[in-house]
């Protein structure tokens, strides 16, 4: 051909990270690539992994999710088992939102008990999320780390709590999700701090904070692109797999409001709101996506496979 070759090569390689499974489950590896996403160039040993989130606590479900979850069980272990099986999710993200004082105020021991039950019921790899309330999480992470009978990832360690979360993870052999608020320098700093206190690099995932569609997604999009370009260009502290948690897309009024008829059916629209967020994150370079809608897990799983590896 007379046109030049448009393929690009990079000096760096994203570190491969494996999320281990329980007995009978299949572990998931992400990262390991030398190229930008969704392109037939460089090496890409692993496709992006798609997981599903289960949340504890008293939260009203968005109409689209309440429709999808109907009849799938109410206790976290049953719901997780059914949704993982139905959707083909490669990993589970268990959010212990119920421990938040406003969302149920579960005792820490109850949160840890749920983790134990869910991990027994579902053999796929798991990430366990705190409730977001600083004081509760400070008690919750050590309890979860102890209760989990197999290695999981704890989500998340930030600038304030990283010693505590990393300490809990190190003591019981878990991994850590390293969180930063849409800031490439803080993402790098967070990984360096985790490294300093001894968390092995292959047990760290970057969570750059994912803004939902219409509510800051563009910031996430550009930060993910920048982190990925930095990693491929040789910045080791950023050459790590990136996790995008799509939960924020379910907070948008556009994903929830059934009153606006001109916006179309809220059940279909809510699902699409998350799906569009997911594709944009993949286009930017995300290696793991956490969805809430089982049909989105299925759709994304079906499409991010072989031809794009």
């Amino acid at each position: 051909m007379t046109v030049v070759n448009p393929q690009q090569t990079f000096p760096g390689r994203i570190l491969e990270v494996t999320l281990p499974a329980g007995e009978g489950g299949r572990s998931v590896s992400v990262g390991g690539q030398t190229s930008l996403p969704l392109l037939p160039e460089g090496e890409r040993p692993n496709a992006a992994a798609i997981g599903i989130e289960i949340r504890t606590g008293d939260e009203e479900l968005p109409p689209s999710l309440s429709h999808a979850f109907g009849g799938k069980g109410t206790d976290p272990a049953t719901l997780a088992g059914n949704l993982v099986e139905e959707s083909g999710a490669q990993f589970l993200f268990l959010s212990l939102a119920g421990c938040h004082p406003d969302l149920g105020g579960h005792a820490v021991s109850r949160g840890a008990g749920i983790v134990r039950d869910v991990l027994e019921a579902v053999p796929c790899p798991a990430i366990v999320g705190g409730c977001g309330e600083e004081e509760t999480d400070a008690l919750l992470f050590p309890a979860v780390a102890e209760a989990a009978q197999r290695p999981v990832f704890l989500s998340y360690a930030d600038e304030k709590n990283y010693r505590l979360v990393a300490g809990a993870a190190l003591a019981y052999g878990h991994g850590v999700v390293s969180w930063s608020p849409i800031d490439i320098n803080m993402a790098k700093q967070a990984n360096l701090l985790l490294g300093d206190i001894g968390v092995p690099p292959h047990r760290v995932l970057i969570d750059p904070l994912t803004g939902g569609l219409g509510y800051g997604l563009e910031y996430t999009y550009s930060i993910v692109e920048r982190i990925r370009l930095a990693g491929l260009s040789g910045d080791g502290a950023l050459a790590r797999p990136i996790l995008c948690h799509l939960g924020d897309s379910w907070k948008a009024r556009e994903a929830l409001d059934s009153a606006e008829e001109s916006w179309g059916d809220v059940i279909a629209r809510g699902r699409r709101w998350e799906e569009a967020t997911a594709w944009a994150c993949l286009a930017a370079g995300a290696d793991l996506l956490v969805c809430r809608h089982p049909d989105n897990v299925k759709t994304l799983r079906g499409m991010v496979g072989a031809p794009w590896r």
Binding site: Q8, L217, E225, G264, A268, W273, A278, M303
Partner: protein
């Protein structure tokens, strides 16, 4: 490759004659490098400089205009691969298809639904840009009538998709509206001969980049200038990689022979059109044709486009003023924050989550977040007191109590002193607002003696 300001400076006369309107040659060079000035503004420039800089400052991706007047759609004319390098200028255009084989009622209904795909978000109207009229009937007269009806009914620029005899039939009446012609693959040269005398934009379709290079050359040889390239992907991965490679060739390699805006037909049975559109908005699709007219599909896609094509160099602002949340009334709390859009949306959604009706008072701080605005002196005791007296909030509520972001608690005294309002210090983080608002005693918002 783009030249740096210093490289440009070396080519200039270095006399600081100011004829270009800038104080020095170096300042002018920096403007050229930023794409804000052209070498034609420098009369004394040497021929060599004009030639070098003329080529370097021509946009790497040409601009193609479809339609006329206010609704005209601009395709292409982009300068970077990543929005964080500068910005993306011309949002991906969406065209929704309509078939000329529909009967009159179905056709009118379809056009009505396409026209109603319009949504208000953040002070902008997000709407579908074009109507793609497909010739499925095989009848040129019917196609011409359908195209005219589509233009009349939708009031949007048209993409005319059909064999050249059908396009030719539609052009006498529609030519002046500058439709985008899209003949089938294999009729590219005939299409170019149709487009050339009228100066109309033309979609050139061919499989892959090699195929496009030949077809685009043939279309140019036949006299067409405003070209849009459709690489005819067979699958989703194909669509993304072709789109990325075409854009890389244009921006990184300045490969003029394939540097054109792109069009992708995601209708007509293309697999997973929603996923393809979601990927091609950030990944360089200039024009996407969809068959779906379901707002549940189109609204998320238009919102994604709004996000991706936001200028990352400018913080997005919301309008200053009073935003009632829930059934806010005269005894509802008043919460103040700045007009940085992310701040606004976060605080608003946290107030909504509290289920406590409230008035959100937004201060104009040039789109800065609370701490930044405070540090820059835009969110101060004085400015907040001024908002309390001038925004009309005093008329909207009967109490005189303001909830201030916890980060700027230190402003409380000044606000109370200047405004006479009582200040309650809110939480440090917006995420704590729901529990904070729920725990507020109702007595806090009893009518003040005014």
């Amino acid at each position: 490759m783009a030249l740096t300001a210093l490289e440009i400076y070396k080519l200039l006369p270095k006399t600081n004659c100011k004829e270009c309107g800038f104080p020095t040659c170096l300042a002018f060079a920096m403007q050229i490098a930023a794409g804000k000035a052209g070498i034609d503004q420098c009369p004394p420039a040497s021929e060599e400089a004009k030639e070098t800089l003329g080529a370097a400052s021509a946009p790497p991706l040409p601009k193609v205009i479809v339609g006329t007047g206010e609704r005209a759609v601009i395709l292409g004319d982009e300068v970077v691969l990543y929005r964080h390098e500068k910005t993306f200028y011309h949002p991906t255009a969406f065209a929704i298809s309509v078939s000329d084989a529909l009967d009159d009622d179905a056709f009118r209904d379809r056009i009505r639904r396409i026209r109603s795909l319009s949504f208000e978000r953040m002070g902008e109207t997000l709407a579908v840009d074009m109507v793609a009229v497909r010739c499925d009937s095989g009848d040129p007269a019917r196609f011409a009538a359908a195209a005219a009806a589509a233009k009349e009914g939708a009031g949007k620029p048209l993409l005319l998709s059909g064999p050249c005899d059908a396009l030719a039939a539609a052009l006498p009446s529609l030519g002046p509206d500058r439709p985008l012609l899209s003949p089938p693959v294999g009729e590219g040269e005939a299409g170019a001969r149709l487009a050339a005398p009228l100066g109309l934009p033309l979609v050139v379709r061919a499989k892959g980049i090699d195929g496009l290079e030949k077809a685009l050359a043939a279309a140019r040889a036949a006299g067409a200038c405003d070209l849009v390239a459709d690489p005819m992907p067979a699958s989703l991965p194909d669509a993304v990689s072709l789109s990325v490679y075409l854009r890389r060739l244009a921006i990184l390699h300045r490969a003029r022979e394939v540097a054109f805006p792109t069009a992708f037909d995601l209708g007509n049975g293309f697999p997973s059109p929603f996923a393809a559109a979601s990927l091609l908005v950030p990944k360089y699709g200039s024009l996407l044709v969809l068959d779906s007219d379901d707002p549940a599909d189109i609204f998320p896609l238009l919102t994604l486009r709004q996000n991706i094509f936001t200028d990352p160099q400018k913080p997005i602002q919301v309008e200053a003023g009073i935003y009632p949340i829930g059934k806010a009334n005269g005894s509802s709390p008043v919460v103040i924050t700045t007009n940085f859009s992310l701040t606004f949306f976060t605080v608003r959604s946290d107030i909504e989550a509290s289920r406590v009706p409230a008035h959100l008072l937004i201060a104009d701080c040039d789109g800065m977040s609370v701490l930044t605005a405070w540090a820059a002196g835009r969110f101060t005791g004085e400015s907040i007191a001024k908002i309390l007296s001038e925004s009309g909030i005093a008329g909207a509520v009967s109490h005189r109590t303001l909830i201030l972001p916890g980060m700027v608690a230190r402003l409380s005294g000044k606000i109370e002193e200047l405004s006479g309002w009582r200040v309650l210090v809110g939480p440090q983080e917006s995420s704590a607002l729901p529990s904070y608002l729920r725990r507020l005693p109702p007595a806090a918002f009893a009518p003040a003696d005014v």
